[in-house]
Symmetry: C2
Amino acid sequence: MPASTTINDILRARRTVYKYLHPTPLHHYPSLSRLVGTDTWIKHENHQPVGAFKVRGGLHLAAGLSEEQKQGGLYTASTGNHGQSIAFAARAFGIAATIAVPEGANRGKIAAMEGLGAKVITHGEDFDTAREWINNIAEERGGYFVGPTDEPLIQGVGTYGLEIMEDLPEADVIIVPVGAGSGVCGTAIAAKTLKPEIKIIGAQSAQAPTQQTCWQSGIMQSGPMATVAEGLATRVPFANTQTLMRNLLDDFILVEDSAIEHAVYLLLEHTHNIAEEAGAASLAAALQIRQKLEGKKTVLVISGGNIAPKRLQQILMEHA
Amino acid sequence: MPASTTINDILRARRTVYKYLHPTPLHHYPSLSRLVGTDTWIKHENHQPVGAFKVRGGLHLAAGLSEEQKQGGLYTASTGNHGQSIAFAARAFGIAATIAVPEGANRGKIAAMEGLGAKVITHGEDFDTAREWINNIAEERGGYFVGPTDEPLIQGVGTYGLEIMEDLPEADVIIVPVGAGSGVCGTAIAAKTLKPEIKIIGAQSAQAPTQQTCWQSGIMQSGPMATVAEGLATRVPFANTQTLMRNLLDDFILVEDSAIEHAVYLLLEHTHNIAEEAGAASLAAALQIRQKLEGKKTVLVISGGNIAPKRLQQILMEHA
């Protein structure tokens, strides 16, 4: 395994990221703080131009490609946000992008990828199937396959972790939704280098617990996947993020999909922001462990806001 | 009438505003651009910590008060966003704030004002009634009454207009929702000083057309008010913003409430952002005049995102 990411890689990544993106805000919300029972801040990755944190990683990865790699084009698989990131970065650097999505993927996310100029192909019943398929296509065609946890992605997305610590050095806890794990690993590397005593907590759906169960057991094993939160829909664990998470995570919480949906509503009510289901997992986890958070300055990462309007309507009908 | 705001006042305001707030993003959205039929950017004032542009003005106003004025406390009336701005600024500077809201005001906005430590009193059937009442209270108690178009507010909110021009000097048109008019006036002053040929267009609800009809006729006269967009719910025109708007606006569009509601949905679909009704008036206006915008780089200001979840649910049920 290659030497893994350090904060200096994240600092280097920021040079590229800030050519295309501004830092996102970290806001304190009094009424949300009362709900969680402790001072609570939101890191607003839902404010990114493509609505999710991933775009930071895509830009850094694309910036590091050789001319030959750029000419071969980028290939990846995505449930939506990673694909938008690669499409955004490919457009910024004038690279062709081909993205495989699983059947039933979020249509708004597909439209956004296409709007950014990417070619989108639907294949397979879940993310991991689509990923293995497009990896083969890339090899056949001599294209560059982007895996969801490639080290440059971790370095790029780690820039939001750095922003959190620069804005709030007093932070005691950061809770991060976990899909493939790039976000939580980048955040943990940045935050723990600056402040080793900070607690980093992952949050995943109990309906897609693979990453959490592997983290707990140390055994790399695929698991069930039935979550409505496509951003958390990981069935097969990733070696590099598992290694990092085992070193860096202080806790890893599973939350029910129903609690995630309620959290989408609560974020709308208390912060007037849209989180997609994955993005709201951090609040769902905080509410589940609220006693442990008491008195701790808590940062919740809203990793993305790309929810389909119909889904949001259903959630509001149940909860508003 | 005192000498009115110039870009130098806005530059001065920015010193205070940036102590408490970051600039908001200006994002280009490919799929929204296709919908509007021209390259379209959104100025995201819905990303402010209190969910609306007004907070910029409140901070600048509070920063300029004497110690005696601070001790007397701030008094104002609001349908919600201006009140949150004053509450936020009052908290930042350790000042007491008392805010009158009309009956039926947005409960989420009231909770947010109270969460920021303000005293909220419900009085009168609409904004203008509440405003006249609290103005008298402030006089009786020796407090400082903040009118909705006080010059420091125009200077403070003008900082977002400045940000638009710094981020996109190529802008041809900026469309701004108009309630009391501070936002559109501040924007026009900043933008037209830097680029006299830029077009500034106001947007208001056809169900609360007072500001538009006064702007058109030059006669100061109250009008009907029945809009669902509380941020546009002005019944009585304001002398200073009317004077500025007559000098600076190139057009002033009335849009039906139904078109505003549809625009709330379209912004969710195409940008994954929440606009409150007032905030979506800029998109509704753009769609209404899309032929005139063809080929013009168009900026739509989403002035705020503080919509009640129940209202959003109703809009999604109709449109999603």
